[in-house]
């Protein structure tokens, strides 16, 4: 009898070991994210027409230490950009003697949930507008200040600060605005178009190989809910269009300019692919 139970125990052990090995190393973790007591939605049911059943935040694909750094807003170095952004919000700039706060008052109230609904349709420019471009529009038209140069530290900090006011709010793009649907279509085409010497489309990594390793890096679904993101490898904030360009560079293709038609279309489409995920700005990635 003893012998049988011992054998059964061994079999169970082997089965457990088998399961542990059977699980791919690149799979997303089963963990929940809470930042300052606010629960984040890191898994959401995919919108209709989405290739996945469930959309997953990139947070689930990161190492335990990286996940912990994001979960503690004190440890999160991206919060330094949020603090810097708060200073810019209050700083007067341009010929009209105004700051962001002159019109929008307290960002915690006026900007709450705003970042989660971008990109939006800009009826004046007849193209999509994201948070960075909206800031520039405000600066030029309402403050008499100059538009930021792409990836200026202040642009990244202010964008981070504004998007941080939507921490926890699920991303949701309203495609019924203007011609946004047409830009979504264009973005989708780009997402599935192979480019570069390596002949990769966005989908080659973030759809077909999601959850696998690419060299030492862990492929996520390529969600944008945490941007601008703090990256350890640059010890600084990384904007979404910088990330797009970085990915495209890595396929050894020609990089479209930041905020170009191509990348704006891609932003519309990729943001939609993360519908329902909480804004995590500033997320922490390796």
């Amino acid at each position: 009898m003893d012998r049988i139970s011992l054998a059964a125990g061994t079999a169970l052990c082997l089965l457990l070991t088998g399961l542990a090995v059977g699980k791919a190393f690149g799979d997303p973790v089963d963990d929940t994210l809470e930042i300052d007591g606010v629960p984040m939605i890191t898994r959401a049911a995919a919108p209709e027409g989405h290739p996945f059943d469930e959309v997953l935040s990139g947070w689930l694909f990161r190492e335990a230490e990286t996940r912990a750094t994001e979960a503690d807003s004190f440890e999160n170095p991206g919060m330094l950009a949020v603090e810097r952004g708060a200073e810019i919000w209050e700083t007067v700039d341009g010929t009209m003697g105004k700051s962001c706060a002159s019109c929008h008052d307290d960002a915690a109230v006026s900007m709450k949930g705003v970042g989660a609904a971008y990109p939006k349709w800009d009826a004046d420019a007849k193209r999509p507008i994201n948070v960075e471009l909206q800031i520039d529009k405000c600066r030029v038209e309402n403050m008499g200040a100059e538009a930021y140069k792409f990836d200026d530290d202040d642009q990244k900090s202010l964008t981070t600060f504004i998007k941080h006011q939507s921490l926890g709010t699920p991303m949701s793009v309203d495609l019924s605005q203007g011609d946004l649907q047409a830009w979504w279509d264009k973005g989708k085409d780009l997402y599935y178009t192979r480019t570069g010497q390596l002949d990769f489309a966005c989908a080659s990594c973030h759809e077909a190989s999601m959850g696998k390793y690419i060299r030492a890096d862990h492929l996520s679904q390529g969600q944008v809910n945490g941007f601008p993101t703090y990256r350890f490898n640059t010890a600084g904030m990384v904007s979404l269009h910088n990330r797009f360009r970085g990915c495209i560079r890595d396929t050894r293709a020609e990089m479209p300019k930041a905020f170009s038609d191509e990348l704006m279309a891609l932003e519309v489409y990729v943001t939609w692919r993360g519908t329902g995920l909480s804004v995590e700005t500033p997320a922490v990635r390796q």
Binding site: E75, P77, L80, D153
Partner: protein, 109 residues
């Protein structure tokens, strides 16, 4: 993070006598190693935080030297036993001689 270094510390507001508490500190700083070159090939001078120390009511709690390999925005987490109410003082020393300080008081109940 080109703006002036800004220290941040996190210390519990209250503790019971003799309790071991966790202290977290973070300072924004570029930690320029001195080993990089600019676009024209000239070395970028070293500028790092080279010393950090923490004291409680004047008594040393924790201190360390930092070297150029430490990455930007150095973060420290350590624990301390608090026997009585008092004040933690934190000091960061920069290569250029600047000293950044912060303090937090804690009440023992």
């Amino acid at each position: 993070m080109a703006s002036a270094p800004k220290p941040r510390v996190k210390v519990p507001k209250t503790a019971s006598a003799g309790e071991v508490i966790v202290i977290k500190t973070l300072i924004s700083h570029e930690m320029e190693s001195g080993q990089r070159k600019d676009k024209d090939g000239n070395p970028i001078p070293r500028k790092i935080i080279n010393k950090f120390s923490c004291a409680f009511n004047g008594k040393p709690v924790f201190s360390c030297d930092l070297d150029p390999a430490v990455s930007a925005n150095p973060y420290f987490e350590f624990s301390a036993r608090v026997p009585e109410s008092g004040t933690f003082t934190f000091i960061w020393v920069d290569d250029d001689g600047s000293v950044y300080t912060d303090e937090q008081s804690i009440k023992v109940e």
